[in-house]
């Protein structure tokens, strides 16, 4: 446990000692902020138009639901942005050590493969949570000037963290396959794209295949979280995905040690 923690701490240092972390956080916040701004302004505009209309026709104004019309699509977009930013987080997790030959230190120290892989995985997850912190400011604005429901916001963040963890496990696996960070990043983007498109393809395929594809799509499982529903089925999917990714990474690490160049 303490050795997993040592790996975790070291990875966190790598993140925050390098400029990439700050660039990634900034880019993520800006893109998420732009989406937030667009959803917010169209929501405000719709509400404003409705107010004018209700005054003109002397009708009671419609009820506008912030959760439904703003927070839900916003979360959905944040999940999608996460998929395409996370490869930049996972790319160096393993590749860097292979490139600089520091894996040799890890492999000749009394560490188990699971301690190495879990330390790195949790570092990725915690970094992602740090990435999400600035977006909480956007939610804070909504709470300051309106009265959205808290539940769906919390479940949305839970969903993002679960989705992020699942993707990070996959990205870590790809990073463990190569010593080239660029290849790891491109592989990560590929994985993100496949996981996203699968759900899309489900719309165009027969009922049997569609349900399989829908189940596999990483983003479809997120929809309930964005709506404020925590379904154990989806929690289970993400946990299973993460476990599988971690398992593959461990196998890949073990097998490279046997093949070793």
């Amino acid at each position: 446990m303490s050795k997993t923690l040592a790996i975790f701490q070291k990875e966190m240092k790598h993140f925050f000692y390098s400029p990439i972390a700050y660039i990634v956080i900034a880019a993520f916040t800006i893109i998420a902020g732009i989406f937030f701004y667009l959803y917010l302004s169209s929501f405000v505009e719709a509400a404003f138009m409705d107010m004018i209309r209700s005054q003109q026709y002397r009708m009671p104004p419609q009820k506008f639901n912030v959760n439904l019309q703003l927070i839900r699509p916003y979360f959905w977009n944040t999940a999608l942005i996460s998929l395409f930013v996370l490869p930049l987080v996972t790319m160096r997790l393993y590749s860097e050590e292979k490139k600089s030959k520091t894996v040799e230190l890890l492999y000749t120290s009394p560490l188990t493969v699971s301690q190495i892989v879990l330390g790195k995985f949790f570092a990725g997850v915690v970094f992602y949570i740090v990435m999400l912190v600035p977006t909480m400011f956007f939610m804070g604005l909504l709470f300051a000037y309106g009265n959205p429901e808290l539940g769906p916001v919390l479940s949305g963040y839970l969903g993002l963290i679960l989705l992020g963890s699942a993707f990070i496990s996959g990205g870590l696996f790809i990073s463990s396959l190569t010593e080239n960070q660029i290849i790891a990043a491109i592989g990560g983007f590929g994985l993100a794209l496949v996981l996203w498109i699968i759900g899309w393809a489900a719309n165009y395929s027969g009922p049997g295949l569609a349900s399989v594809l829908n189940y596999l799509s990483i983003i479809n499982h997120f929809e309930d979280f964005a709506q404020g529903v925590i379904d154990t089925k989806h929690v289970f999917y993400y946990l299973l995905f993460s476990t599988f990714g971690i398992y593959l990474t461990m196998k890949s690490v073990e097998s490279t040690r046997w093949r070793a160049s």
Binding site: A6, K10, K13, Y17, V103, L106, T108, P110
Partner: protein, 312 residues
């Protein structure tokens, strides 16, 4: 302390080492000598349990590499050819991390770190970022890392490569002092290094052990013959007649020199005949442009050892 028996390792089709066998006693400093790609690093990586051999057995500090790698890893310090450094961490941060993953309890970690900083001479750079250090200091940080858990067995892969002469002397001195308490295996392709630091040498070539002996014995075996290189002008046959006039000539090789009318002659003899040779050549009226004793390079040693073994 270390028993290696019939270690063989293949990388795919390529054979890296074949039936490597040797022993190291407690407190001994053993040199693994060989040219690049001879299998030194492969042998060391197997002993450190970084990877398993294709076949064969080895015991380090009394534990088997197949069944108890964790116990071995607790008791070794390993400095790979490229020191495994995280260039963005500070020296103390790096050593602290190594201490944690080597399982040094937190109450002893601080004193262990200041100990190795002292030993490796890192006092002036403790707060610097590893990536900003010179090659020599990086090598020392790597050595400090290997010494951190006060290992029973130290495995050092070319520890002096890339250092300046003063640093090389310091590191060799340091390694020498480590013998006795620690069992040390170090690899190198520099012959004097072995003579200076190691109690015993294992020579590896193309993945096989060619010789195993003390440095003194090995050099004695090599000193069995002297080689002299001459550059002579004048009549070639007269010169050869003079050379062959000496009783103990083993081998003569004649090449045309770059300058016209001169010959380069390489003579192998049992004893040093340089002064007599010069005298006789000049008496015969030949022009002598160069006369020097040829020193043995590592390649010569291999040639020597392998051909000798074939004859015997």
């Amino acid at each position: 302390m270390i028993e290696v028996k019939d270690l063989t390792r293949y990388y795919g089709e390529k054979r890296a080492i074949h039936n490597v066998t040797f022993d190291v006693q407690k407190g001994e400093i053993l040199g693994l000598l060989g040219p690049n790609a001879a299998g030194k690093t492969t042998t060391m990586r197997i002993l450190t349990c970084a990877m398993p051999p294709t076949s064969g057995e080895a015991k380090v500090a009394g534990f088997d590499i197949w069944t108890e790698p964790m116990e071995i890893k607790k008791r070794i310090g390993y400095l790979p050819e490229n020191p495994p450094l995280y260039s963005d961490l500070r020296v103390t941060e790096y050593l602290d991390f190594v201490g944690k993953i080597k399982g040094i309890p937190s109450n002893k970690r601080k004193s262990a770190i200041s100990d190795v900083i002292e030993k490796a001479g890192l006092n002036e750079v403790t707060h610097q970022v590893v990536g900003s250090l010179s090659k020599g200091f990086k090598q020392r940080v790597g050595l400090a890392q290997a010494l951190l858990n006060d290992p029973e067995v130290l495995i050092l892969d070319e520890p002096t490569v890339g250092l300046d002469p003063r640093q090389i002397i310091e590191i060799r001195e340091l390694i020498k002092n480590l013998g006795g308490d620690h069992t040390v295996i170090l690899s190198t392709h520099i012959l004097p290094e072995v003579e200076m630091t190691c109690g015993r040498v294992v020579i590896i070539n193309e993945g096989e052990v060619v010789a195993e002996d003390t440095p003194e014995n090995l050099t004695r075996r090599l000193k069995g013959s002297e080689r002299t290189v001459l550059e002579v002008g004048g009549d070639k046959n007269a010169a050869l007649a003079v050379i062959n006039g000496f009783g103990d000539v083993l081998n003569v090789e004649v090449n045309n020199s770059k300058s016209p009318g001169r010959y380069q002659i390489r003579v192998e003899t049992r004893s040093d005949i340089r002064s007599d040779l010069a005298k006789s050549l000049i008496q015969k009226g030949l022009a002598l442009y160069e006369l020097r004793a040829e020193t043995y390079s590592l390649e010569d040693i291999f040639l020597h050892l392998t051909t000798k073994e074939e004859v015997a």
